[in-house]
């Protein structure tokens, strides 16, 4: 195994985490990572050895994600609403999720892909604003407003589901 491939291999866990936060479903997320790895292999010369392949790989994967979301959206505005806790019929079986984790994962899926990507990039993946703006290909101001709106929207959704839960308890 050459050095470049070894360096890419060590980034796979982080790529999988980012993909999982974008798509939720484990197999779909791994499909995205696989597409990313294949694209990276074709463009191996674009990456300068000596620097971490992380930003390069995240950029490739983000483009794949956004391109495909646009294709999906062209069919019509199909957004997904968050599920109420009791409605989740087929939560990924491969992972034991606490209710809190499941709620926040569902809420994350319900916010727009652009906001989701910006928020995850900074809040989970720990990129700086400058790095994240660069990877996502947007000005820093746009990135900041996506993060702010994304956080607000996420909190609103979590408040909603907490309210629904308390209403249910009162009704009993």
């Amino acid at each position: 195994m050459d050095d470049k491939k070894a360096a890419i291999l060590s980034e796979i866990p982080r790529l999988r985490r980012y993909a999982r936060s974008l798509l939720r479903d484990r197999d779909s997320a791994d499909d995205l990572v696989q597409d990313c790895l294949e694209r990276a292999l074709m463009r191996l010369d674009n990456w300068q050895t000596g620097e971490s392949p992380r930003r390069w790989l995240f950029t490739i994967m983000h483009h794949l994600f956004i391109d495909q979301m646009r294709k999906v959206n062209r069919r019509g505005e199909a957004a997904i609403l968050p599920l109420e806790a009791g409605e989740a019929q087929a939560a990924p079986a491969d992972q034991v999720e606490t209710i809190a984790s499941r709620e926040i994962m569902d809420a994350l899926q319900a916010i727009s892909p652009d906001r989701r990507a910006a928020l995850v990039m900074v809040a989970i993946e720990g990129f700086s604003y400058a790095e994240a703006a660069n990877i996502l290909g947007v000005p820093a101001g746009t990135l900041m407003s996506r993060i702010a709106r994304g956080r607000e929207e996420l909190r609103g959704l979590l408040d909603d589901s907490a309210r629904r839960r308390s209403i249910r308890i009162v009704e009993k």
Binding site: M1, K5, I8, L9, I12, P13, R16, R17, R20, S21, L23, R24, D25, D27, S28, A29, D30, D31, L32, V33, Q34, D35, L37, E38, L41, Q68, M69, K71, V72, G76, E77, A78, A79, I80, L81, P82, L83, E87, A88, Q89, A90, P92, A93, Q95, S101, I104, M105, L108, Q109, V120, V122, A123, I124, S128, M144, I147, A148, R151, R155, L158
Partner: protein, 264 residues
């Protein structure tokens, strides 16, 4: 040192480590003096911790063999079959929210026939709304004054126990209902509601549904929007041109009552 005014924007910057170090003390003082912003900062901090912990386990999972193989150049047949399919699940709008792997596979391998049931329901509901909600005198076949008959008649035709939801708390009164075709052979009930300003929304309910999904759909920008739920054996869409929050609130109330009626 120049004092500057802080705002909500600084909460995000502080949380994301983007606040310049020399501003930190002034920021903390501002937060201390501002209970609302302090509470907001605390919620966002907790949300970030929850997000991180929700996805932390992924880093400890072993790298799947198919990804190793893709990188090291030994792509297996199985991996190829899966490749480039991840976005289809997003298109189906099913897997992410509710469908499991089985729904995903059925949607793709079943000649892709079921993967846009949800869109079809939403499109039919929107089409019906566009035609009938615009009718002043002939919007409904059976008026709300004959509600008992309306419910019995539509329940018998559609094959579901239908109870017209009471949306008075959302500001909407029942106008009446009508029977419509749904899918290739099925029937749907349409219930029309109106608020004090004459704004109309419609509920579209059918027993024609083989899958489970939930979402919002807009056939064209600026047109009415549908909030829909699909479950095995029934589907419901609430259509209107309301602000998203209001439509969503009305839809949730309507759906809850419909569901209670159907399963009673």
């Amino acid at each position: 040192m120049t004092r500057r005014d802080f705002s909500e924007r600084d909460i995000h910057m502080a949380l994301d480590g983007e606040l310049p170090g020399e501003e930190r003390m002034a920021y903390d003082a501002w937060l201390e003096a501002n209970a609302e912003m302090k509470a907001k900062a605390a919620r966002y901090t907790a949300d970030r911790a929850a997000l991180r912990s929700a996805f932390a386990g992924v880093l400890d999972e072993p790298v799947p063999a198919r990804l190793r193989q893709a990188l090291l150049g030994e792509t297996s047949v199985k991996a190829t079959a899966w490749r480039s399919r991840w976005w289809l699940s997003a298109a189906a709008a099913v897997v992410l929210a509710v469908g499991g792997l089985s729904g995903y596979v059925a949607g793709i391998d079943g000649i892709g026939k079921t993967d846009n049931d949800d869109d079809q329901i939403a499109e039919q509901a929107i089409a019906a709304h566009v035609i009938y909600a615009a009718e002043k005198r002939h919007a409904v076949e059976v008026p709300a004054s004959d509600k008992d008959h309306l419910q019995t008649w539509l329940s018998n035709r559609v094959g579901l126990k239908l109870v017209a939801p009471d949306l008075a708390s959302e500001g909407f009164e029942l106008v009446g209902g009508r029977l419509l075709p749904a899918g290739s052979q099925g029937k749907a009930a349409m219930l029309l509601y109106e608020d004090a300003k004459g704004e109309r929304i419609s509920l579209f309910v059918t027993a024609e549904s083989a899958e489970t999904a939930k979402g919002t759909y807009m056939a064209e920008t600026g047109g009415p929007e549908a909030v829909y739920w699909l479950d095995k054996g029934y589907a419901c869409a609430v259509v209107g041109s309301l602000p998203p929050e209001r439509l969503s609130a009305v839809a949730k109330s309507a759906y809850g009552q419909l569901l209670a009626g159907i399963s009673s």
